[in-house]
Symmetry: C2
Subunit: 168 residues, 2 copies
């Protein structure tokens, strides 16, 4: 299963693509979609949408895992972030990807084992869990996006093990 993780942001949107096969994770692609400082929101949304469409056609994932908005943000940030999430979900729909959403705490919990983990701990675990990632320079947004993809791999993996154990 190839998973695209997305860390949405109206200024910078991180993405990370991982393969998850027989319980093993491997890195396919990672990076950021950056929008110009001072650009109007409409222009930013177009750059995010087209950037994500380009990542999807290059890497051909089957599933997208997207972080849900963090409740602790201020209203203005929450509104801008939700605009970005809108076009991210639209890009996923238009590519017929299965969409899964995870709260930031669930992502940290799945990757580090603790929902209150720091960003640096998340990045460290991403590097440990993804062979080929150790020597890369990872931007914080790309590291978050990879963590979201890993979170989905673990969650989906557990769900399928539970189905097998239950004889389904």
């Amino acid at each position: 299963m190839r998973i695209l993780g997305v860390d949405p942001g109206s200024v910078t949107t991180g993405f990370g693509v991982v393969d998850h096969e027989h319980g093993r994770l491997s890195l396919v692609d990672q990076g950021c979609i950056r929008t110009p400082r001072g650009a109007a929101l409409g222009e930013r949304l177009e750059i995010i949408y087209e950037g994500l469409i380009a990542v999807i056609s290059r890497t051909r994932p089957v599933v997208v895992a997207v972080e849900t908005p963090f409740a602790g943000l201020n209203i203005k940030s929450l509104i801008q972030l939700s605009h970005a999430r809108g076009v991210i979900l639209l890009a996923a729909r238009s590519a017929s990807l299965e969409i899964h959403e995870y709260a930031p705490r669930s992502v940290k919990s799945a990757v580090v084992g603790y929902g209150g983990a720091e960003k640096a701990q998340v990045e460290k675990m991403v590097r440990l869990l993804l062979p080929g990632c150790a020597s890369l320079i990872l931007s914080p947004d790309a590291a978050d996006a990879l963590a979201i993809a890993i979170c989905h791999a673990h969650t989906a993996g557990s769900a399928s093990r539970i189905r097998v154990a239950a004889g389904r």
Copy 2:
């Protein structure tokens, strides 16, 4: 100038298209893009985006006027509304429309003359200001969208009168 007004919503998005020429307003089109109850957010966003693209290609406006989120909404509604606004701004960008945003109070003020006006007063003024609208059944979302388009017509009209008066 043909103006598309949009009243964004993740469940129902109202639209209204008006022509504004030599200070006169006329109705071109109006209606709602409705999304199925219980549909996932991604599916809704796709319906809103495609619905709006269809309205734009049918009516060929040059400008879109969109209402900004109302600060009094609860966080969950604000998040959902902002997702819808994201795909609405994207649709406007992809059709190369000029984008203008107006706060709900500015719209009421421009149409009724009072920022705290009730919905029924806004609808009544929309009917008075738009010939051809009097006998129509208008949904509340379509009436709001027409009010947003009228607000832009008035605002843009004043701005151009000010430019003329200033000799520019």
